[in-house]
């Protein structure tokens, strides 16, 4: 709660300061706010929402909020180059980002269905706006509209699911819904239908097969700066919402939906990685890779108590953000993978960050990505052995998607040109690289 208040106030402050048209000032205020929010979450410990009438039901440790804040700091720094281009709007953009983060924090650990839905909308609406910040570009506008419509559609489905659940159990509070379902109501058609609607909505939000269609188009239309934020924060908050809402409420009907989850995982991973193989646009490739990773994340549902999803999403974010930053360098105006050729040679930091990030995404030890995958699979193997085997096979395909990018980026150019990085970008690349490397000490 402290973190939400701090972020909200910082966001408002940012709007006022933004009127001074000083990009660096807006940036420093946002970063400070994010740091304070993270520190507040650290001291607050386990999250307890005062909006609910009972004490914290789902004790999610404060690590999630800290992770959300850290990733947002990285995304803000990495995208600052773009945000400061529209000098009169820098403050607005950053404030929108902070407001959306408030929603992400609420979404990650709700204890009431209404609160959960509000969090979802607070997270989504600023992002609809941010996706459309390239005002002159048709693809950006298309992406914003597409994201808005599909996102609203998903919200409606979730709302419908909530309504059905309310009909079945007579409550919005997660603890009551759960206890009512546990005594056998989960077998009623209304509750089952509600769980399916809720699941469909979640799958829509995190972008897994079969509700993934919006992903590639929206990613392609969004600017790199926004992409950094939305490809990570939405996933983190979304998967926590899936675990804390869906996984907790429906744990009694586990055997009713777990096979469906396994199917979603396997389809997402194969579809995502195989389709990513032939992409020519980096953002689309990232979108397909994120579809596959969304599938992988769902493994956490198979054993909520023992899965270490935090490590996985952290590793995913620390690998995705530097790649988008590098894409910003390689593709300032276009969006073609061909432009990645030889990018690693233009700056030593870019080279190192790129190799580490791609190998981390591919899940090669001892980088963070491996430990993320490993801890997820370790918990999932007893419950979903066949899905785990298929997931590993799919990740071989995934490795080749990333290797193809790596080989292109490492190709030695005939004429070597240097490209300098701004301070924010070097900071982001350095921090994420260290993050990916230091996993060995944090597991």
């Amino acid at each position: 709660m402290d973190s939400i208040v701090i972020l909200f106030i910082t966001g408002l402050l940012g709007l006022f300061v933004g009127m001074r048209r000083q990009a660096v000032l807006s940036l420093s205020i946002s970063i400070l706010g994010l740091i304070f929010a993270g520190v507040a979450a650290y001291f607050r410990g386990t999250y307890i929402s005062p909006l609910a009438s009972y004490s914290g039901y789902i004790p999610t440790p404060s690590h999630v909020i800290i992770l959300l804040c850290v990733v947002s700091i990285l995304a803000v720094l990495g995208g600052f180059q773009r945000y400061k281009q529209d000098e009169e709007h820098t403050g607005d953009y950053l404030s929108l980002l902070l407001f959306s983060l408030c929603g992400a924090i609420i979404l990650a650990q709700p204890n009431d269905m209404m609160l959960f839905f509000i969090g979802l909308e607070i997270l989504s609406i600023p992002i609809y706006v941010l996706v459309g910040i390239e005002k002159g570009s048709a693809t950006s506008a298309e992406a914003a509209v597409k994201y808005f419509f599909t996102g609203s559609f998903a919200s409606a489905i979730i709302l419908f699911g909530i309504a059905l659940l309310y009909g079945a159990t007579g409550s919005f509070q997660i603890i009551e819904i759960q206890s009512n379902l546990a005594i056998g109501i989960w077998q009623s058609p209304m509750a089952m239908l509600g769980s399916l609607f809720l699941l469909a909505g979640f799958v829509f939000k995190i972008g897994a097969v079969p509700f993934h269609f919006w992903g590639p188009d929206v990613y392609q239309g969004a600017s790199n700066a926004v992409l950094m934020y939305m490809s990570t924060i939405v996933k983190i908050a979304g998967i926590y919402a899936v675990l804390n809402v869906f996984g907790q409420i429906f744990r009694d009907s586990y055997f009713f939906w777990i096979d469906l989850i396994a199917l979603i995982i396997v389809l997402s991973m194969f579809y995502g990685y195989i389709t990513a193989w032939k992409q020519t646009s980096f953002k689309r490739l990232l979108a397909y890779s994120s579809i596959a990773n969304a599938g992988l994340m769902l493994f956490a549902l198979s054993d909520i108590l023992n899965s270490n999803i935090l490590l996985f999403v952290a590793a995913y974010s620390f690998a995705t953000i530097p790649l988008v930053v590098i894409n910003q360098l390689a593709n300032p105006t276009q969006d073609a993978i061909a432009n990645w050729e030889g990018i690693a040679w233009k700056n030593p930091l870019v080279g190192v960050a790129l190799v580490i990030a791609l190998f981390s995404l591919a899940g090669i030890p001892p980088l963070a990505g491996f430990f993320g995958k490993f801890s997820l699979l370790l918990a999932a193997v007893p419950h979903l052995p066949y899905a785990a085997i298929l997931a590993l096979v799919a990740s071989v395909v995934g490795v080749f998607v990333y290797l193809r990018l790596l080989i292109l980026a490492l190709k030695k150019p005939t004429v070597q040109t240097k490209q300098s990085l701004s301070i924010e970008q070097s900071t982001v690349l350095l921090l994420t690289t260290l993050g990916s490397l230091s996993a060995l000490y944090f597991i």
């Binding site: 090669i364 030890p365 699979l377 370790l378 490795v399 290797l403 080989i407 030695k412």
Partner: protein
């Protein structure tokens, strides 16, 4: 501790040093590593076990005499690679030095770690540098061959990962000692599958017969230093894993199940590799298939789980490292001076380069396992062990001696004494002679007294079965 971390530190230093000093630094660094391991082994009792704690939660280290042997072998191989490529362009590149030291760190980790997860992590860690070395310094026109190598290795690794996860779930233990104590026989078919995952990873690395197709292509396209690293030490990880981890842990139902399939594949590799090697034109391809043939024999013999055989297998592993460095060095020398490795294009080198002819002949004889070299002891005992277990298999295994003579002598004779086609050939430099001399001395020393090595590794090999 310094033993394990030194290569990592050197890797960072190599990356930060200016390019001009890289070559010298690489040689000095590998020398320091070699001496560090020699000094460390000097104060080490073969009966002992040395635990090293780096403060990591999942990865622990413990050194026994087998680990020490492999670590010294690793350090010696890296030293040799640097010495033999000292004049080549590749060692002047700081990327190469940084990656090579990183790979050395990974290999030492594989050989010294005490936890199954650590084994997997270091196993994979070696993949990253070798991939980049092959990509940057190899002559892969299209990344396809490189990707094939990576695909095979990764499939194997992922099978191993599944097995590691399965093992962790099944026993809830992850240190070597605890896994040895855990009784996997009770799990029957599951343990067979788990062992199969490990074996798939090893079969790709060794490589065993149907999984070897990446080998020749990768060896020929890789830079000489990369080929040496691959064949002299990286493939040994798989044999080490088989000997130290998989066979003792899965002792019982699973080993019984896999014994004869693996021996069969190994023996098919022995004959098949040798037959293909006889018909090849490219020196590196010949040596690649020779490697397939030799390693198939070691893998087959290891599966017998006989104490003496296991000790002798270590001799043969060391011998194979010696041979592959020597042979690929010879191929590299020919390639760098004549820009071809095709033996139909070569001939009469012995007349213009007598010193090269002598040392190449010496290493060829080591490879042929003539008496008084390490290979003789190795092959003799390994074939005898297989013969004792199954007569027909022993006879098939013994053909390696005949076929080996055919392809090796052909590979030596045509370039050296064939009709003169190459009248200009710069003779060996001091560093190349030094490498050859060191290799031959090591091979002969081991051939005369293999006991110093077999006694040293005896305790750590025999312990699991006691």
């Amino acid at each position: 501790m310094a033993l394990i971390l030194l290569p990592l530190v050197f890797s960072l230093i190599a990356w930060l040093l200016p390019s001009a000093q890289t070559r010298l630094f690489g040689l000095i660094g590998t020398t320091i590593n070699l001496f560090a391991s020699l000094i460390s082994v000097y104060g080490f009792d073969a009966q002992d076990q040395l635990f090293i704690d780096l403060g990591l939660r999942y990865v622990h280290f413990s050194l026994d005499s087998l680990s020490y042997t492999m670590i010294i072998l690793t350090n010696a191989v890296f030293f040799m690679v640097y010495l033999s490529n000292f004049k080549q362009e590749i060692t002047a590149k700081k990327r190469f030095s940084a990656l090579a030291f990183l790979m050395q760190f990974g290999l030492i980790g594989v050989f010294s770690t005490n936890s199954i997860l650590g084994f997997y992590i270091f196993w994979e860690l070696t993949l990253l540098p070798i991939f980049l070395i092959l990509y940057w310094f190899g002559s892969f026109e299209k990344p396809k061959a490189l990707l094939q190598f990576f695909l095979y290795t990764l499939l194997g690794s992922l099978a191993m990962l599944l097995s590691v996860i399965g093992l962790l779930q099944l026993t809830n233990q992850q240190t070597y000692e605890a896994l040895l104590a855990a009784d996997l026989n009770a799990h029957g078919a599951t343990s067979i599958w788990l062992m199969g995952g490990f074996l798939l990873a090893f079969a790709v690395k060794i490589p065993l017969f149907p999984f070897h197709t990446w080998q020749a292509e990768t060896y020929t396209k890789a830079p000489t230093a990369g080929t040496m690293l691959l064949s002299a030490i990286m493939l040994k990880m798989a044999l080490f894993g088989l000997l130290k981890w998989v066979l003792p842990i899965f002792d019982g139902v699973a080993t019984e199940f896999w014994r004869w399939p693996i021996i069969t594949l190994g023996l098919i590799g022995v004959v098949y590799g040798a037959l293909i090697a006889i018909k090849q034109q490219d020196l590196k391809t010949i040596f690649a298939y020779a490697s397939l043939s030799h390693l198939g024999l070691i893998a087959a013999a290891l599966m017998l789980q006989n104490e003496i055989t296991n000790q002798i297998a270590i001799v043969q592993i060391v011998n194979h490292s010696i041979v592959s460095i020597g042979l690929f060095l010879a191929a590299g020398i020919i390639e760098s001076r004549l820009q071809t490795r095709d033996i139909t294009q070569l001939g009469g080198i012995a007349k213009v380069a007598p010193r090269f002819a002598f040392w190449f002949a010496a290493i060829t004889f080591v490879s042929l396992s003539v008496p008084f070299t390490a290979g003789f002891i190795g092959e003799f005992f390994l074939i005898k062990a297989i013969f004792n277990a199954h007569t027909l298999s022993g006879i098939i295994a013994a053909t390696t001696l005949i076929f080996g003579a055919v392809y090796m002598l052909r590979a030596y004779q045509i370039p050296m004494f064939g009709p003169t086609k190459n009248s200009v050939f710069e003779d060996l430099s001091w560093s190349e002679i030094l490498v050859f001399a060191l290799l031959i001395i090591a091979a002969i020393y081991l051939g005369l007294s293999p006991k110093c090595l077999t006694d040293f590794v005896a305790t750590s090999i025999n312990q699991p079965t006691l």
